[in-house]
Every structure is written in structure tokens, then in C-alpha cells.
Amino acid sequence: MTIQTSKADKATIVQALNWALDDAMAADDQVIVFGEEVADPEGGGLMKVTQGLSTKYGSRVRSTPISEMAFTGAAVGAAITGMRPVIEIMLMNFLAVCMDPITNHAAKLRFMSGGQTSVPMVIRTMTGSGFQTGGQHSDFLEAWFCHTPGIKVVMPSNAADAYGLMLGAIRDPDPVLFVEHLLSYWTPGEPPERGKAIALGKARIARPGRDVTLIGYSRSMMDLPVVAQKLAGDGIDCEIVDLRTVSPLDMDTILGSVRKTGRVVIVHEAVKSFGVGAEVASRIYESLFRELKAPIARVASKDAPVPFAKHLEAAFLYSHAEIEAAVRGTLL
């Protein structure tokens, strides 16, 4: 695990995150890891992101009982003493059993203490439809946390970003919700530069273009390049913005792109209503109302729970055709 060299051609997100945790733990003995099954006797995490760490770092890596409230709260407590806990909530829906330590405490203690304490913790969690896990295992709930002042939300889409953002999240003095996509774990991508953190709050232009700005993050970054490629064949030149950090939003990058294109399509896997897309759109309108050439389109999952059957699950998620139609719609 630690013997990876810079010669590796490609890396997966699983590898990248494992390296990030390993590098962070090696560099700072205040970094600790806990969650259900994260230690090696229990398999090194549901997706093996923490594999090898407990063997290497001993009691700094612990498998917990099924007690999300207790161990998330424990991360808050350890963090205010200056430790840097990175905890794993096995799936994003399980955040519903431990909202209180996150939203009432982690996000607020810096403020409520008048700046005396900070809560430098990272909550890793995973989600994503496509595995037929049904209504309680694949939701995207990032909007809840984006609407909670005091916590940052990071949602990487490739290995290099996952590594750099994880290091950035661990070093960040404030709590970070770090959302990993189940489907993207094993996609090979550019390997990260070891030891180099990416600062939170910076979006990335994943594809430069002139005509329409496509804004996405997490899973939609697997889809937007495909659609953009297809549209390029018809002479439509899309710029793709990968938000990476969903809160706080990097409005400079977003507005820079929209100033150029005047057209926007926002795509996310979370259900559409009251989702992240609404905020992104509202802010763009607030700044560039007169420069927009068309209303901003939002493409997202249906406003429903995630269904079980494979063909229903596919119909729940946005499709490439919908994204394409939305892009063409901005050009009418």
C-alpha cells in the first residue's frame, strides 16, 4: 500500500483515498480513523478505503459498534482537543441517525464558543444509485449539509482530486463532509501527486468550451464528458465545471465560465427539488441575470425515493438524453 511509486500509470479512487489517509496519518499522529469495520480484522472498510491502516497505525484506527451517534460525537470531542478524526459513515443515508453531532455540534462549536474551539474532523461517506440497494441506501443528501453553516461539503469525482481533497479536508480547520461515489471507486484515473493537498472551495474546469457551461460534481462528472463529446460532434462546445467542493461554492470559477458562455446546465444525482442546483442557479442569476442567454436548466434525479428494480432505478436517475436535451434547450 505504501510502496506505490510515482511511476504508476493510473490510480483508482479507492487507492487514492487509501494513500491520502496513509500519508496524513504518517505525517501527523493526531490523525485518527474510526467507523464501522474500518480496521483490518473487520476488512478495512466497506469499500476497503482504510485497508492496511489499522495494521500500520494500531489503535489510531478502530472499528466501532453500530453507533453512529456515539462515534460521530466522539469525533467531535476528539477534534476539539486538536486531533483530526476521519470517520466513516458507511452509507450516506445513515447520516440520518447522526445528524445531531454533525449539524448541531460539529458545524456550530467554533461559532458558539466564540472561536475558542474548532472541529477539524472529516466525515467520509459513500452513496450512489445503480446497485439495486433501494430506497434507504443510495440517496444524495449533500443539500442538507450545504444548508448548514459551519460545515464544508466535498464531493470528488476522480482519483487525483480525491487524494488532494482528502488531504485538504484533513488539514482544514473545520468539519468537512466528504462524499464518495460508489460507482466511481474503481475507475482508473490520473494518479495523485503524493503529499500535495488541494485547497477546499476551488472548482475545476474539467473541459474548456465556449457555448454552454455544464456544472456537475461526483457522479455527473462521469456523464458530462460523454455528453459534451457527443455534442461536440454537432458543433456544440461545452465547458464543464467540476465543483468538487459543493459548499462553499466557488462562484469565481462558476461565474467566470458563465460570463463566457451565457448558458448553463446543472446536473446532479440528488433529487432536483430544493437541491444544490437551485442554489447554484440562484447565485448565477443574482450575478449575471442580464448576461444569461437562456434560463438555466437543472437535470437531476426524479423527485422520488430510489426504487429497487434495475430498470426503475435507471429511470429514476437522469439520462444522457435528458442532459443533451437540456443543453440543446439553452441554445434555442
Binding site: 473487520e42 476488512g43 466501532t64 453500530i66 451517534m69 441517525v97 429497487f308 430498470h311
Partner: protein, 325 residues
């Protein structure tokens, strides 16, 4: 006050165990053959628990179970063909394929909620029992969960609430010694989960979950107490799950001798032997039960695959009662 089960009851238990086992095996083989796709949490090894409890329940008694719950559902009376159709995503499935293995509901057989959130079934069980208590309809609620679930807050709150309100409820902890890959002692600070009942002034019974007579006796006591207004009971039934947490689980985390001992205590052959040894049925009669069950499994599977896939328009239906379809 409690009577030992008669031969008819004992065979009813066997029949349920056989149905659980054979459906389970067919689910797995059908998945491995690539004809079914789902996250499947096999309860193979745990069939004795719901089989022995369910023969004591009325059809209209309520059941709450978890992702690992097909055994509970079948024992309670959810028709396997509806479960098959659900897993195959058909319009004839219990939930039209919208729920899947973690969310089977079938009110006609009392199967009210299946949850994928650890611990979440217990509060809901309190509500079903509250309804029965207020309506005075005599229904008992059985709510199932695992050993790992006894560490989550919902367990504590529900046990306390059920006790304070004297709800007609039976908490059944199916202790298979592992929570996903986590051994009991890694997550729980005491040896017997049944002992936690004392924190609520509630009776706690610890039984061999692979012994139908032991489970039956405990369930009889608990159900009678609930039915007669005596309040809730916690039953901890010791067992094992032979196929790991979900299909695909390597089981690496289970020490080999522990696994071997668990399989040696497989409740199904053990109960077969016991029935024969004690003259409740001979091997031929038991084989005949199994054969009938297998035919039912064939038919259930056929029913599922013959049914139409659920219409994709269903993806936005049932969100609200008045939701535009």
C-alpha cells in the same frame, strides 16, 4: 401454563423451516446463474427462530423485520411467489419491485415494514403495538433485529418506551454473533444481549435459536404476556448465518473452527433428526414436505419470471397519494 407443541405444530415449524431453506437456496442459485440481481442477505442458519415463533402468531399479528428478513417474512406467511416477483422487479411483486429485498411489505400477512436501517424497526414496532393497544384488537407485534443492532440508540429508546407504555411487543434479537464483519465482542460490552432487558424492567430471555422447542417456549411466554397486557419481552436467540453478511461475502473474518461448529449445529438437519427420533414424523414424511416445498419454490420462481416488469412510470408514483402519476 404453557404447553409443549404437539406434532402438528412441530411439523408446521418444520414446514416453515423447509420453505425458508429452499427458497433461500434457490434465490442464491438463481443469482449465481445471473437470472436475479440484488443485494441478498441470506438468513440460512437462522430459520428456526421465525419458524418456531410464527406458529404462535395470528395472521393479523404484526411483523417488523430487517434486510436479513426473508425467513421472517416466509414464516409469517408472505407468499414466496410475491417475494420472488418483488426481487425480480415485477409488477406482481409485493411492492411492485419498488422495495426490493430490504423493503418487503405485505400487510395481509402482517408484514408491515422491512427496513435497511439498523435499529429502525424497533421504534416502528412500538407504534404498531401502540395501535393494537389503543384499538384493543389483541394483536401482538414481533420486531426482529440483529446482535449488532443492540448497540444503536433506537434499541434503547424503543425498549424503554415499550416498557413504560407496556406495549404488546416482542423484541427478537437474532444473535448470529456478527454484525457485517464485526464480531459481537468488538461492538458490545457484555456477553448476553438479553441482560439488557433489565435496564427497562423488562423480562429478557436468552435461548438457543437453533432449538425450535426453546424458541417456541420463549415465544409462547412472550406472546402470552404481550397479548394479555403484560407488556414487552426481549428474546435473544443464539444462531449463525452461514452465507456471510451478504452474498459475495468471503467470510474471512470468521475463524474457521467457529464456522465449522456453527455449521455442525445447523438447525435444519438437527431438527429433522429430532423429529424422526422422537416419532413426530419419519424421513419419508419429511422428504414429502420438502418435495412439496420445492415444487412451490419452482412455481414461485416461474410466477415471478412470467410476470411483466413493472412499468417505468411507477418511478414517480406512490411518492404521495395524490402525486401526479
Amino acid at each position: 401454563m404453557n404447553a409443549a407443541p404437539d406434532s402438528r405444530t412441530l411439523l408446521a415449524i418444520y414446514r416453515k423451516m423447509s420453505a425458508i431453506k429452499h427458497n433461500d437456496e434457490r434465490f442464491i442459485s438463481t443469482m449465481l446463474a445471473g437470472r436475479l440481481s440484488m443485494p441478498y442477505y441470506s438468513a440460512r442458519g437462522q430459520e428456526c427462530i421465525p419458524a418456531a415463533i410464527s406458529v404462535l402468531l395470528r395472521d393479523d399479528d404484526y411483523l417488523v423485520t430487517i434486510y436479513r428478513g426473508v425467513h421472517d417474512m416466509i414464516a409469517k406467511g408472505v407468499p414466496p411467489r410475491l417475494i420472488w416477483a418483488e426481487f425480480a422487479g415485477r409488477s406482481t411483486g409485493t411492492c411492485k419491485g419498488k422495495g426490493g429485498p430490504m423493503h418487503v411489505t405485505h400487510p395481509e400477512s402482517g408484514c408491515m415494514v422491512t427496513t435497511g436501517i439498523v435499529g429502525a424497526g424497533m421504534p416502528i414496532g412500538c407504534g404498531l403495538a401502540l395501535s393494537a393497544q389503543l384499538r384493543g384488537d389483541g394483536r401482538v407485534t414481533v420486531t426482529n433485529f440483529g446482535d449488532g443492532a443492540s448497540n444503536i440508540g433506537a434499541f434503547h429508546e424503543s425498549m424503554n418506551l415499550a416498557s413504560v407504555w407496556k406495549l404488546p411487543l416482542v423484541f427478537v434479537c437474532q444473535n448470529n454473533r456478527y454484525a457485517e464483519h464485526t464480531a459481537l465482542a468488538t461492538g458490545t460490552s457484555i456477553e448476553r444481549i438479553a441482560d439488557r432487558a433489565a435496564s427497562y424492567g423488562m423480562p429478557g430471555l436468552h435461548v438457543d435459536g437453533n432449538d425450535p422447542l426453546a424458541v417456541y417456549a420463549a415465544a409462547q411466554e412472550a406472546i402470552e404476556r404481550a397479548r394479555s397486557g403484560g407488556g414487552p419481552t426481549l428474546i435473544e436467540a443464539m444462531t449463525f448465518r452461514f452465507n456471510g453478511h451478504l452474498i459475495g461475502d468471503s467470510g474471512d473474518y470468521i475463524p474457521k473452527p467457529e464456522y465449522a461448529a456453527a455449521v455442525a449445529a445447523d438447525p435444519y438437519p438437527r431438527y429433522r433428526r429430532w423429529l424422526a427420533d422422537n416419532g413426530h414424523a419419519n424421513a419419508g414424511e419429511l422428504d414429502a414436505i420438502d418435495a412439496a416445498i420445492k415444487a412451490e419454490v419452482d412455481a414461485a420462481m416461474q410466477f415471478a419470471f412470467d410476470s411483466p416488469l413493472t412499468d417505468v412510470a411507477e418511478v414517480t408514483r406512490d411518492v404521495f397519494a395524490d402525486h401526479a402519476a
